[in-house]
Structure formats: C-alpha cells, structure tokens
Symmetry: C2
C-alpha cells in the first residue's frame, strides 16, 4: 500500500494545541499497532455510548487499511443504524506529567481517533480473517494456536470493518513545562512513566500444557518476567 | 453519603451477559478509584466523538457523588449543547483470556459506563475543588505539592461535573471457559494478566529537588521499583 499523509477533515483537525497533532499516517498505524483495546463510540437514541472492545488491523485491505472491531457490543446499534458514523479511539497513557503549577500538570500520551461508517462483515471468509486479525493483534500467532471458529460460532460473532481514512493522532511527550516565574518554587517537577505490563501467564486449572512460545513471547514483550 | 444500589435504566441495563453486571454502587466507585483516565463520549454534529481525559471523584457531593472531568477537550461541544447527554467510560484491562477455541477468547476487565448531562462548573471555588480532585486522583496529595491555579489559569480551564447517578459496571474475571468438546485439544489455555505500572519517576532537567513522598508513594503503589 502507499502511505498517504493523514488528511484532516473538520472533525479530525485539532482546534487546540496543534503542535500535538501528528500528520503522518505511520503515526496512526504505530498507535494502533501498540494498542490492545479501543473505545468505540456510537450514538444510541441520540446519546453517545462508549464501550471498550478489541480490534485488529489489516493495512493491506483498502487504500488506507482496515480496522476490524469485535463488534458484538456495538452490533445492535450498527445494525439499527447501518449508515451511522462511529468514532474509535485508542489511547496510550505514557506518563503523568507533574509541573510546579497545578495548571501545567499534564499527561504524556498518544491517542488516535478514527471516524467512519462501519461495515458489518457478513462474508464468512472476511469475518474469519477479521477475527484472526483481532486475536493475533492481542497475541501474535494465537489464531494458529487455537481451534478456529465453526459456522455456528461465526454466526454468533459480529465483526465490524472500518476504513482507516479519516483519523487524527495526537501525542504529548517529554518533560513538564512551567511558567518562567515558577522555576524557583519548592515543588518537584517531573514525569511518572506509565505502561501496561503483562504478568506471568496463568495456566487454566484444567490444562496441563506448557505455556507455548507465542504466549511466552507476547508476555515477555509486554514486560513479564521470563 | 448513603450508598444506593445502581438503578439500571434502559441504556445502562445489559442486554448481553447479564451475569457480568455489577449491581452494587460500590463496584462503580471501585472502578473509578482505581482508574486514571476515562473516555468521554459526546455527540458533535450528529456523530460521536470519543476523547480521553482525566477525572476526579467527590463522593460527598450530590446524592450519588460527583465526577469531575478535565473538560477542555469537550468544553466546546458541551458549551454548544449544554443539555447534551455525555457518556463517560472507565476501563481496566486485567488480562487476556486465551481459550482452546478462538470463539471463547475473551478479556478480563472491569468497566464503568456513566451517562448524564454534565454541568460546566463556573463557580471559582468549585472549579478549584474539582481541579484538585482531578490532580489528587492521579497523584494523591499532589494538589498541596504544587502552585494552585491563579485566576487567569482557572479561567482558561474547563471543568465538567457529572452526577454518578446513571451508571453500569461490567466485569469479567477468572479462567478461560471452553466447550466440553474442546478440553482435549492440544491448545494451551489460560490468562495473561495485564496491569498499568509506573516506572521510576524522572525528575525534570531543570529541577534539583528530590522526588517527594507523595510522588514516591504513588509510583510505588503503581508498581515502580522503590
């Protein structure tokens, strides 16, 4: 695929703090690649509804790539309003930024916001593909280390597809910024880094197999002690 | 305050997997107490917009307690539509649940969803109170370890208040569940625990103070090496 820059639309253009906006499409893909869950926003009976769900990515499907969402949580609203725009947000909280003044307290983060009208995936082959992308996004290689869904299970699962066309990425990183007048205040300033880490994998009580390589690799990548 | 049970409304009642619903109000407060950020959903020009933001809680304000949101991100939409219902979602991802079948893959999580029409806090005293709650939610004790906002800074900040009346809490915990027919499959099953941890606090390059106790305590509570 050709990577085109992010093309801001009215709703993805940042009105505040434009310096925090990333303009490269690769920034979007990076935020998605590192995230594990998203928050999906839909409109239900005129009010917003925001629910967490899992996702996967296929950058080779469509001109800008496709986001697959495990959509059971949203399927009811999407089926009810198939032409409805949804909003998908993926956020990494990277650190608490403590300034000398309360006002300049901030958060180091990376977040991606994607808008689009999702497509309910009905083709069984694409549905399986989307589900595999979602499972493998969480644990790379897992889709080959598990029993694939049968026809009945596929029918019970909803997968939504969203093109990665209309999106924005916003980040903040680095030190706290203080007012020049505040530099001599007796208040500590700095960053408390945050990250999501995995613990040691816990084998089910009814399973006597060893933790397989794909699970061990992922847990270690997420910081589990090896 | 008296803790009343969560009273489900049409939109906070779970249609799927009712066994995952918590009915005690304390479950809501626990999810909020442990979370650091929320995802705030608003409707803008007919489409949902979901943005991450910081929050604080005051359980003694209002019959069910009050959620304060650092609302600059949403203030534009809330000012534009002050009677607008918003949705605030706080999610803890506690673990990846790997079953023997792809279909039974799941996530251990705790999530709270709160609906309400937020109030833009205009009273300077309550605004300061709300901001302190937000800062102290992230780092308990921090509001006394920093310069308080001056009038100009207060005017530049938006705080939203939302009553914790209409809310639902959903959780999943424990092992993977498999189909009885799948128990002998040669696939490992178990849980990869996840949590958010803090790293060692990083002092700003322009600061020569030692990390204070309130920062050290919070970092250690979040798993930083002491």
């Amino acid at each position: 695929m050709t990577i085109t820059p992010l093309q801001p639309t009215a709703r993805t253009s940042l009105r505040r703090e434009k310096r925090r906006a990333a303009t490269e499409r690769s920034a979007l893909y990076d935020v998605l690649a590192e995230g594990m869950f998203c928050h999906l926003g839909v409109v239900m009976d005129g009010a917003p509804l925001v629910l967490p769900t899992a996702y996967g990515v296929d950058l080779d499907r469509g001109p800008d790539g496709t986001l697959y969402l495990h959509g059971s949580v949203a399927a009811r609203s999407v089926v009810a309003a198939p032409e409805q725009t949804v909003c998908v947000t993926v956020t990494h909280a990277d650190g608490l930024v403590l300034a000398r003044s309360a006002f300049h307290h901030s958060v180091n983060y990376r977040s991606a916001v994607i808008f689009g009208v999702p497509r309910l995936v009905t083709d069984p082959e694409e549905k399986l593909h989307g589900l595999n992308r979602i499972v493998d996004h969480l644990i790379p290689g897992r889709s080959s280390g598990t029993r694939a869904p049968n026809r009945k299970e596929l029918a019970k699962t909803s997968v939504l597809a969203l093109t990665l066309t209309e999106a924005s990425v916003k980040t903040r990183s680095g030190e706290a910024n203080d007012e020049p007048d505040d530099l001599d205040l007796p208040h500590w300033t700095g960053v408390v880094p945050l990250r999501v880490v995995a613990g040691e994998p816990i084998t089910n009580s009814d399973c006597d197999l060893l933790v397989p390589a794909h699970v061990r690799t992922r847990a270690n990548q997420l910081g589990a002690p090896s």
